[in-house]
């Protein structure tokens, strides 16, 4: 009798360790499923304090990674500072008239050639999978020639961040928000400022409750823009010029596809 019981508890143990429900407003239905940390927190003040302290450290780290590169900006100008910010966040950046992207290698190292391109505007930025948040945009807002911005799979891009993209309204043509867990339809509503937007990738947005309806509304709001990926049946979509396109191109897209 005791052995199966013990086995059951063993099975429950990894669940206790791992379960986290990051972005939901509903309270956890079963307190046991909240994780062992939660269990300990409810009983020991020390653990609660430690967990609170860890959360504070995480926010501090996020702030550090999104810091304003004012010193670089003063010496090298807006474009180089933005490129430096993007590269140190393991992103990619392309300057006007260049075919190649400035990338980081697997160790996070990059060449400092971009320091020579002081007066060349940045036209494309790929920050997919980075920790960019609202504060990090401080480094990018001065890029008046930015045409393509990839923010796919950024866990800290939220509606406040989207509301700040209006600074690119005269230039931005391509925007990807695929796989951002915090983006909702409330933030998408303020993309109406981006009048020159030609392509908007909105696939895999888990916080958007009714993707089909939102796709229609976004298309209505941005009539000249091609909206990709919100509707549930958008495995492969036909764009306006009849070309077949994959529904989730964001991560694997290469430089050649972006209009220079």
């Amino acid at each position: 009798m005791a052995a199966p019981r013990a086995l059951q508890e063993c099975r429950a143990f990894p669940r206790l360790l791992g379960a986290r429900r990051p972005y939901s407003s509903a309270p956890c239905p079963d307190p046991l499923k909240g994780g062992i940390l939660r269990y300990l927190c409810n009983r020991f003040y020390d653990i609660e304090y430690l967990v609170g302290w860890c959360a504070k450290l995480r926010y501090r780290n996020l702030r550090r990674k999104n810091a304003y590169y004012g010193y670089t900006k003063e010496i090298y100008g807006d474009n180089v500072a933005a490129a430096y910010f993007v590269l140190s966040n393991r992103g990619r950046v392309r300057f006007q008239g260049q075919e190649t992207w400035f990338c980081v290698d697997w160790r996070g190292k990059y060449s400092s050639d971009f320091l020579q391109l002081r007066d060349v505007p940045v036209v494309a930025i790929d920050l997919s999978g980075s920790v960019l948040n609202y504060n990090g945009l401080d480094n990018l807002v001065k890029l008046t020639a930015l045409r393509s911005l990839d923010l796919s799979r950024c866990p800290h891009v939220d509606d406040w961040t989207l509301s700040r993209l209006h600074v690119f309204k005269d230039s931005l043509e391509e925007l990807s928000l695929a796989g951002c867990p915090q983006v909702t339809e409330r933030g998408l509503a303020c993309l109406h400022q981006l009048e020159h937007l030609r392509r908007l990738d909105l696939s895999h947005l888990p916080s958007v409750p009714t993707p089909g309806l939102i796709q229609i509304l976004v298309e209505e709001m941005l009539p000249q823009c091609e909206v990709v990926g919100l509707a549930p049946d958008s495995g492969a979509q036909t764009s306006r010029d009849g070309r077949e396109e994959p529904g989730v191109p964001s991560g694997a897209r290469r430089a050649g596809e972006i209009p220079a």
């Binding site: 309270p27 940390l37 939660r38 609660e48 504070k56 409330r186 400022q193 509304l217 209505e220």
Partner: protein
């Protein structure tokens, strides 16, 4: 309790005599002639318990611990700060007091709210907008700080092991329209707003028409649109976030009504005459649905009662003196009823619909994505509705709001009202701005009230200002001396310049 009873019984009763040897002999007659003196435990139980309780209390001076327990929900007997009013302002002050206190548990804060259901609270019945388009620099700074606070709300109000807070912020911006007469004021306001760091742009009628084809721009001279940090959010989420965080930091919550204050006063000769200075010593809190009450000894009272703050101030003796003296100056905050209507219009403005404030002061915004809209209008001074209850006057929409809406947005000619509700504004009749800071005569009463409809959006900053005033003795982040009670004494108005 049982043990104590036994002890009493043991003392009260004479010890039985030891039985003589043999055991079989009959019990000997007692030597006394009177009736045996037996103390009935149950007759004296109540008295004994009270005596016992008193004794225990005396043995632990300065502590609230009660071994026998009392009614649940009573406020503590002593507190440093009593905040009257558990709306967003009250909880914001409570949170900031706890966040800024010099060491943990330095202050004992109690928040008293009379309505546990929040059924008439202004906080939860508001439309929930946030904007920077004010004309007073203080208000713009407060709003900017509040936007920053709401953006980083999880860093401030996140509780360990609770899900992250989502206040459902809609960053759609405010669009103010101005007619020929109001254009100059609007432009001037935008200059002030930009100087304070708000992102606001001006739009000509042609640009407006291009951006929002559904607007009729006939009598619009210029419009201003807030690009960042403006929009609307869910008031209830913000209130519960404040409350949850403050309670996790050790703030006491109590549902009850403050019925009176115990005040000590003294008269002091001042150059301008004899003035009566007073101090609140006890706050008397009545429990809901019962006769029970509890006096709370306190050193500071924060008046965050919103629409009812004038009544609360009168309990402390504000404004009940002769009419032309300092004691006779009332707190000029009144409840005013404002309606909010929700209507459905399937062909209405789309996802890009901002919070639009018309030249006639009628406003509306999108509510969700299903073609629902929400809006209202402040009635003119002489047509204020009765404030006895929160009944909605549906004719008000038909006669006053709808014509303006249909004129501005032609598709609203066909719409269907789905629901409506009313809420109270804490309307400052003097200059429609906040009252922040202490009263000049009642030394330990601080006001945080009179926001006249934009209290929700300024609550994080205003709460912080009052907490700074309590802990540091002055405003540290934003200087809000302008909003002190003294302006009612000097008669100097702090007015917002509204667009006509």
């Amino acid at each position: 309790m049982i043990r104590a009873g036994r002890l009493c019984r043991g003392l009260g009763r004479p010890r039985p005599l030891p039985l003589p040897a043999g055991g079989s002999a009959p019990r000997s007659r007692q030597l006394r002639t009177g009736l045996p003196q037996r103390r009935d435990l149950f007759r004296d139980l109540e008295k004994e318990v009270v005596k016992f309780q008193k004794k225990l209390k005396e043995s632990l001076p300065g502590s609230d611990w009660d071994p026998l327990g009392t009614t649940k929900g009573l406020p503590p007997e002593r507190a440093d700060v009593v905040i009257v009013g558990g709306g967003v302002m009250g909880w914001s002050v409570a949170y900031w007091l706890k966040a800024l206190e010099p060491r943990r548990d330095a202050l004992r804060v109690v928040v008293i709210e009379k309505d546990p259901m929040y059924s008439q609270a202004s906080t939860v019945l508001s439309a929930g907008g946030i904007r920077q388009q004010f004309s007073l620099p203080e208000n713009i700074q407060m709003s900017l700080y509040s936007a920053f606070f709401l953006r980083t709300i999880n860093e401030h109000l996140g509780v360990v092991n609770e899900p992250p807070i989502d206040i459902q912020f809609n960053p759609s911006g405010y669009l103010f329209l101005a007619s020929e007469n109001g254009a100059a004021v609007l432009e001037e306001n935008v200059h002030i707003q930009r100087a304070e760091g708000a992102e606001v742009c001006l739009l000509s009628p042609a640009q407006l028409k291009k951006k929002y084809p559904w607007i009729n721009t006939n009598d619009v001279a210029v419009a201003s649109y807030g690009l960042e940090n403006e929009g609307w959010f869910d008031p209830w989420s913000l209130l519960t976030a404040f409350r949850r965080k403050a309670m996790s930091m050790g703030v006491f919550q109590c549902f009850g009504e403050v019925t009176s204050f115990t005040i000590s006063s003294r008269e002091i000769m001042m150059p301008e005459g004899e003035l009566t200075f007073s101090r609140i010593n006890y706050v008397r809190v009545h429990m809901p649905n019962s006769l029970e009450y509890q006096p709370v000894e306190c050193s500071l009272v924060v008046n965050a009662a919103g629409p009812w703050s004038q009544k609360l101030a009168e309990m402390a003796g504000v404004g009940i003196g002769p009419p032309d003296t300092q004691e006779g100056i009332k707190l000029p905050v009144e409840p005013r009823k404002r309606y909010i209507f929700v209507w459905h219009c399937p062909d209405g403005p789309g996802l890009d619909c901002p919070m639009l404030v018309d030249t006639t002061q009628a406003y509306f915004r999108r509510e969700g994505t299903g073609g629902n809209y929400l809006g209202g209008l402040s009635p003119p001074e002489e047509e204020e509705p009765d404030i006895q209850d929160l009944e909605v006057d549906h004719n008000f929409f038909q006669e006053k709001i709808w014509p303006h809406l249909a004129h501005r947005v032609p598709v609203f000619k066909s719409l269907k009202v789905k629901s409506a509700w009313a809420g109270y504004y804490d309307y400052n009749t003097f200059d429609q701005n906040a009252v922040l800071g202490p009263h000049p005569l009642v030394e330990n009463m601080l006001f945080i009230t009179g926001f006249s409809g934009h209290g929700l959006q300024l609550s994080p900053a205003a709460g912080r200002a009052v907490a700074e005033l309590i802990l540091k003795g002055k405003f540290m982040t934003i200087n809000m001396e302008k909003f002190s009670f003294n302006r009612f004494v000097s008669g100097e108005q702090v007015l917002e310049r509204n667009i006509i």
